[in-house]
Amino acid sequence: MGRYVARRLLQMIPVFLGSTMLVFAMMYALPGDPVRALAGEQTVDPTQIAAMKKDLGLDLPLWHQYWNYLTGLFQGDFGTQIASGRPVADIISESFPVTVRLALFAFIFTVVVGISMGVFAGLKADTLRDRGLLVLTLLLISVPSFVLGFLGQYFFAFQLGWVQPNVSLEANFSELVLPAVVLGSLSLAYVARLTRTSVAENLRSDYMRTAVAKGLPRRRIIGVHLMRNSMIPVVTFLGTDLGSLLGGAVITEGIFNVKGVGSAVFDALRHREGATVVGIVTLIVVVYLAASLIVDLLYAVLDPRIRYA
């Protein structure tokens, strides 16, 4: 087990380096100049720009800049914004918790509602309620999340007045309910479908028949025997899902005006603030990698037949 974790952690290193390097290269290889952007429409002495670039280390070749960035990162330094002079770490610590809260909220909603819906339908496969669930999930998958967001905003905020259309700076728990439901709806549909298929399939297995024949209470049969075995594909999906919820939050944040990672990245992109964008994407990649490792370790909990060598 320990060896397996160590090996997985080692394998993460190239993926981590590669993803940050990819975003870094995209930021720097593409046109646009953060120093030039500082001056706006005014004409600036090119020597002044060159001097400033030299100061910031932006005249170095790409690999050297990346090296400087990485060494800084490992000392806990995310870099500094060029225009505002604020440390990127500040911006991240302001915006990231909001997005994480939103994504976690959406994740919990996905897990609880999605799995319950899936079990509910899977226990009675090919009945009316199962068909109903399939149609519902199909609709949730087809309607893009921003459309759901606008519809939710229109009905719950403008028509019914239950919620505020925009989320305040504090991003309270109650304000995040609607955005989280919108954000989680696509994953919810996938989780419900996966659970439903898995449950329906496992219901026919031998160990289920044995459990019923032993006269175990129904709660135990479903809660322990069926659920534990049916959760493996669902857990696999959920592992990659947390990362994509964090990334997809950008759109939901745009609709409900949440001041999270999305707006921070938007501002940074407009000013070509490479360090900010790379820093935020790096954090999301780390969350994604950690989540997929946890999932792999969860397999052994769910299915003792899986051993790690």
Binding site: V147, I251, Y288
Partner: protein, 314 residues
Amino acid sequence: MPETLKENTADASAPTAAVPAPAVEVGKARSLWSDAWHDLRRSPLFVVSAILIVFLLVIAIFPGLFTGADPRYADLAHHYLQKPKWGNFFQEDWFGYDIQGRSIYARVIYGARASITVAIVVTALVTVLGTVVGMLAGYFGGWIDTILSRVTDIFFGVPFILGAMVVLTSFEERHIWVVILALAFLGWTQIARVARGSVLTIKQADYVMAAKALGASTSRILLRHILPNAIAPVIVVATIALGGYISAEASLSFLGIGLAEPTVSWGVDISSGQEQLRNAPFVLIIPSVMVSITVLAFIMLGDAVRNALDPKLR
């Protein structure tokens, strides 16, 4: 099914009878596909989605057939946010007018082309690139697999919408090709993983061993034996992904970094409609419904194709 049986026996005897390999492979491939086609025609899911998709494609190719109105013609004086007239089927004012006094019906009809073009071209690019990467990684294994799989992991790790944002904001003029290339650049990983997994199982098959023993070249094994047999799961994933790209294009346009005016697309219209959500929700809802119907059609098609190609999943 006697047909399939017959072809399978022909298959088994083929190597000993020294029948040229391609004939055998084509026959086998045909049996899988004709079997799937046989199932598909009977699936209501497929029939409904296929009719919808053909209809949408006709709209995309010949928008002039459905409306005589010009989607860019703006008559602010007469039509500012005029409400839809639901009874006027296929008329210019059927879906009302947007904030610039342009016919929403005409815009929705003409917008189909941009949205569907993006989705189809991205899917084609992603399928080709992903299949090539996945096939090479799966077939050759070893260090080629290690490198290609890590590269796939790297691209998979970058969040899709965020990555697309980084690429797209740096282009002043976001022509349709820029959006297509940005989506394809980040989107190929899923297909590559599916193709790799599929090739890994196929390459153990007897007919691949037989082809190797007969001295078939690597390219021949890959193209004639592995590809036709490994492609089914790829096609399923690609069909479902096609719907996803329709909504990705709309999402990026909504964020203001996808397609932009003067291109007519559903995403562009949804993006401009959000300003009037409160007093004129139809401006946003009508193109949104079109996006949703199109995504739904492709996802249903994907489901139907998966059911037909992989009976185990039923």
